[in-house]
């Protein structure tokens, strides 16, 4: 296959950035999208050009490092991570646009690499259970109904890639925040801090410059881990409940 890629090139956060067109020949349909970029980068390096910077690590769809907007869609045409998108999803001769996540709260560092540290700060604002090491009670002393555990697991599967933010017309990070609130809020261990958690995390979310949720649903449609939209309803319920108790 021969592919034409138009890639967002931006030297650093201060640079204006622009789309640049490259041709990639002999693309195999078995290549992952990132392997196609590797091949292009080898060509660029040998030609004396600066290779394209992009984030990636495990290439197994679990670390959440990779993620670019492909032809206007977060992670491209399949609902998966960019590392698990393969070139067989494209036609021979295709022209493919590649851009970084587009969101005010994710400033561009270089080319396709963005700064997602705002997600870490949302977790710092309460996305945990305060369990000091070394004093935990015997694990089976605290039964968790299987249904709750399974549901909590589904939300806990969030990989923090940021596709939800990139897909959202408002640049909202609500699906990410809601996934954590749902995961911990469904477990008995998470109850003591449930109110302070939701208030702290939502406050930090807004403080980071993420937009508001208006229930469009693009986030869940783009989520490679299938985090459901009802986590956001749960977040809203928890938030209203906490605020009504005057815990703000």
């Amino acid at each position: 296959m021969n592919i034409t890629v138009r890639v967002w090139r931006q030297k650093n956060a201060d640079d204006k950035g622009k789309m640049v067109t490259y041709g990639v020949e002999n693309v195999s349909k078995d290549m992952s999208f990132l392997e196609m970029l590797d091949v292009l980068n080898e060509q660029l390096t040998l030609a004396g050009d600066d290779p394209i910077a992009f984030d990636h690590d495990c290439r197994e769809g679990i670390c959440g490092a990779c993620g670019v907007v492909i032809n206007g869609q977060a992670h491209g045409p399949q609902v998966t991570t960019t590392c698990q998108l393969h070139m067989r999803s494209f036609e021979d001769g295709a022209v493919v646009d590649v851009e970084p996540w587009r969101a005010g709260a994710f400033p561009v560092i270089k080319d396709l690499v963005v700064d997602r540290s705002s997600f870490d700060r949302i977790i710092q604002a309460g996305g945990y259970i305060s369990a000091p090491t070394g004093s935990a009670p015997e694990a089976n002393n605290l039964p968790v109904p299987k249904k709750d555990a399974d549901h909590a697991f589904e939300s806990a599967a969030c990989i923090g890639c940021g596709a939800c933010v990139a897909a959202c017309p408002n640049g909202s990070g609500m699906l990410f925040t809601a996934a954590k609130i749902t995961h911990l809020g469904l477990l008995p261990q998470g109850q003591p801090e449930r109110d302070s958690r939701v208030i702290g995390m939502v406050e930090q979310h807004d403080h980071e410059g993420f937009g508001s949720c208006t229930n469009i649903g693009e986030c869940t449609a783009a989520c490679p881990k299938g985090i459901p939209l009802d986590t956001i309803s749960r977040l809203n319920r928890d938030l209203l409940g906490a605020l009504s108790k005057g815990k703000a």
């Binding site: 290779p51 910077a53 670390c63 259970i129």
Partner: protein
């Protein structure tokens, strides 16, 4: 039985130094040793802890858990990772589960049995004291993770579920679907972020450690590069912990994350830290095979597939017919034929080598002939499609996604791949290296797994070291601190920083004609060919020569574009590959000197008449701890003694 017969003098590659000993492990009954050590270790008064500073490099299970725990204890912790967030460390990719001797199934499990299985599984090349402690602490790990909200699988009654894992006769593996590593790491990460909010831990993401600072015989800090700005930063502390994972990426293709590297451990090795058992590499038998030259990594398919899948190759070499056109009597179900008792469920090292032999004989399937079939046709006929889907559906989907083939219709193709490295920096029972003040945890150290690792034990060691062992043993060291403050203009700091700067400038100024990746791939091929599933004296000797040539060429002809003062991923990789060259050479030397087969190390010259691994306990029951010596490393032996487990040969016939 045959024995090793060799006439070549391989000692020209290395020197031999004095024996080394672990001086920290208490003697006495094994079940009391850890409590004894904890009681005898010095403590640090809570009010004094905030005056003490700790650097921890790496934020996986070992590093993240240690940073969270030490921060919570009141120490001042600086944590470093190369990823954009600590949540992305490669521990996140572990699938199967975590072992713990809870005996929830009432099937005869115990701490002693987990200890026994670990020592035996490691082919009697690990320490009894360390393995026992690992089994002992495993029980607390599950309690800790549940308290943090890790969503382990549950029974309908709300209690924790378990399953069993390869080569073990009890159900002691706790799991969270196929994403156990992810859930455990997220638990540690959340505990870490909680400490960041509390102000006890500073996290430096997108930072890479490039040098260790040694002052007056003690590890006192690191030189790190800020990967966004290129700034070469000095960070000093009272103690340094490396929790930087394994070095499987020396093979280029492996199941490791792309960024996993040896640089932190290798820079420490060059500063005097001994490297233990570098040649011990675990090869996992069920990975998706390589499909082309462009391939960047390999993906594991869970070993559980071998419960129902049958492995076969065409009987005739070079048979290129599609699988469905090869009649039953022209197929060789070679594992069932050679190992009738265990069949397709032989252990990892046996299954891996058997696949290699079939492919070496030209019977491999798929592109390049490097693959064997894992066929579910019989299972589908016997159990029905729905049952197979319910059991393995997500794995089948993953396979289809990566290969574009439908494994329900055509057999999967699998091939072994590099998975885990049991070697690492040498540490004592306190997890301290031979350098004072340098501690090493998790996969980065060599200590607990021996020559082979049981499934579901890697997560266990990472968290045992991070939550429970290191936070106790490091206090014994820190009780003598705080040490004199090191200023940024101390001659050792200035020299370390200058060395890093010079090295970076060298990479950027070579301006040759070959890319970094092309060197890495070639190094990886040499390692895989000669220091992979099977090693020979001849092959290893050849590999050392090839690596030395390639390394010399790298320093003359590599092309690293861009500048230091920006995000420069080529520059990052150049530094890592340069260190892989030196480590790869040491791995070959270690593999060459160990003239026996054990665990993940199979020397073709040392096998029984029916082709099984043959250990030589009387000669090689030691840890090989290597001191850096340029082209001639120096071997220090730590003798291993077994008081509780009798050394026996493993057999699967």
């Amino acid at each position: 039985m045959t024995t090793t017969t060799t006439t070549t003098n391989t000692s020209e590659f290395y020197g031999v130094g004095a024996d080394i000993h672990d001086t920290k492990a208490p003697s006495g009954p094994i079940e009391q040793r850890w409590d004894t050590r904890k009681f005898n270790a010095k403590l640090v008064n809570p009010a004094n802890r905030r005056k003490l500073s700790v650097i921890i490099v790496g934020t996986g299970l070992a590093g993240g858990a240690a940073a969270a725990t030490l921060g919570e204890a009141g120490y001042h912790v600086k944590s470093f990772c190369y990823q954009d967030s600590p949540r992305r460390a490669h521990s996140i990719a572990a699938q199967g589960g975590i072992n713990a001797a809870k005996n929830y199934r009432n099937d005869g499990d115990s701490i002693y049995r987990l200890f026994y299985d670990t020592v035996k599984g490691g082919d009697f090349r690990s320490r009894e004291s360390n393995s026992y402690r690992l089994a002992q602490v495993s029980v607390n790990i599950i309690d800790q993770c549940v308290a943090q909200g890790v969503p382990f699988a549950r029974e309908y009654g709300g209690l924790l579920d378990n399953r069993s894992f390869g080569g073990v006769q009890v159900s002691r593996t706790f799991y969270a679907r196929g994403q156990t590593g992810q859930q455990l790491l997220i638990g540690a990460y959340q505990a870490l972020e909680r400490q960041v909010a509390a102000g006890t831990v500073e996290v430096h993401t997108r930072h890479e450690m490039l040098e260790l600072i040694m002052v007056d015989g003690r590890a006192r800090g690191i030189i790190a590069r800020n990967m966004v700005t290129g700034e070469i930063e000095t960070h000093t502390a009272d103690v340094v912990v490396l929790a930087t994972g394994g070095y499987g990426n020396v093979y280029f293709l492996s199941t490791n994350a792309m960024g996993s590297n040896t640089t932190a451990t290798w820079r420490a090795h060059r500063k005097g830290a001994y490297f233990g058992n570098p040649c011990y590499t675990q090869i996992h038998p069920t990975c998706i095979p390589v499909s082309g030259d462009y391939q960047s990594k390999l993906t594991l398919m869970s070993e559980s597939l071998r419960n129902d899948g049958r492995i076969w190759v065409p009987k005739k070499a070079g048979d290129e017919r599609p699988a469905d056109q090869i009649p039953e009597d022209e197929r060789d179900y070679y594992l069932e034929r050679i190992y009738p008792a265990f069949g397709n469920l032989v252990p990892r090292d046996i299954a891996s080598r058997a696949a290699k032999y079939q492919c070496d004989d030209g019977k491999g399937v798929g592109p390049g002939g490097l693959g064997v079939y894992l066929d579910f046709a019989d299972a589908i006929a016997r159990l029905g499609l729905d049952t197979v889907k319910a059991k393995y559906g997500n794995l089948f989907d993953m396979y289809a996604q990566i290969t574009g083939e439908d494994p329900y219709k055509t057999p999967m193709r699998i091939y072994p791949a590099v998975h885990y490295t049991m070697g690492g920096l040498w540490v004592d029972y306190d997890l301290q290296s031979n350098l004072a003040g340098l501690f090493v945890t998790g996969e980065a150290n060599f200590s607990d797994q021996g020559a082979n690792r049981l499934g579901a034990s890697a997560l266990m060691q990472g968290l045992a070291d991070g939550y429970f062992v290191l936070p106790n043993t490091i206090a014994n060291y820190l009780a003598d601190g705080p040490f004199e403050k090191i200023s940024d203009d101390h001659p050792e700091v200035v020299a370390a920083k200058q060395a890093v700067t010079d090295r970076i400038n060298t990479f950027l100024s070579i301006n040759g004609t070959r890319t970094v990746d092309s060197y890495h791939k070639e190094l990886g091929q040499i390692m895989w060919e000669y220091c992979g599933m099977e090693r020979t004296e001849e092959g290893l000797t050849k590999a050392i020569g090839l690596i030395r040539e390639l390394k010399a060429d790298f320093w003359k002809n590599v092309k690293v574009s861009g500048v230091n003062e920006e995000l420069n991923q080529t520059l990052e990789r150049a530094g890592r590959v340069a260190d892989f060259f030196e480590l790869g050479e040491l791995m070959c030397i270690d593999a060459l000197h160990r003239r026996e087969s054990c665990g993940g190390h199979f020397r073709a010259e040392s096998q029984t008449e029916d082709g099984e691994a043959l250990r030589h306990d009387e000669e090689f029951a030691y840890v090989a701890a290597w001191e850096f010596g340029g082209d001639t490393p120096i071997l220090h032996k730590e003798p291993l003694e077994y008081e509780y487990v009798e050394m026996k040969a493993r057999s699967y016939k």
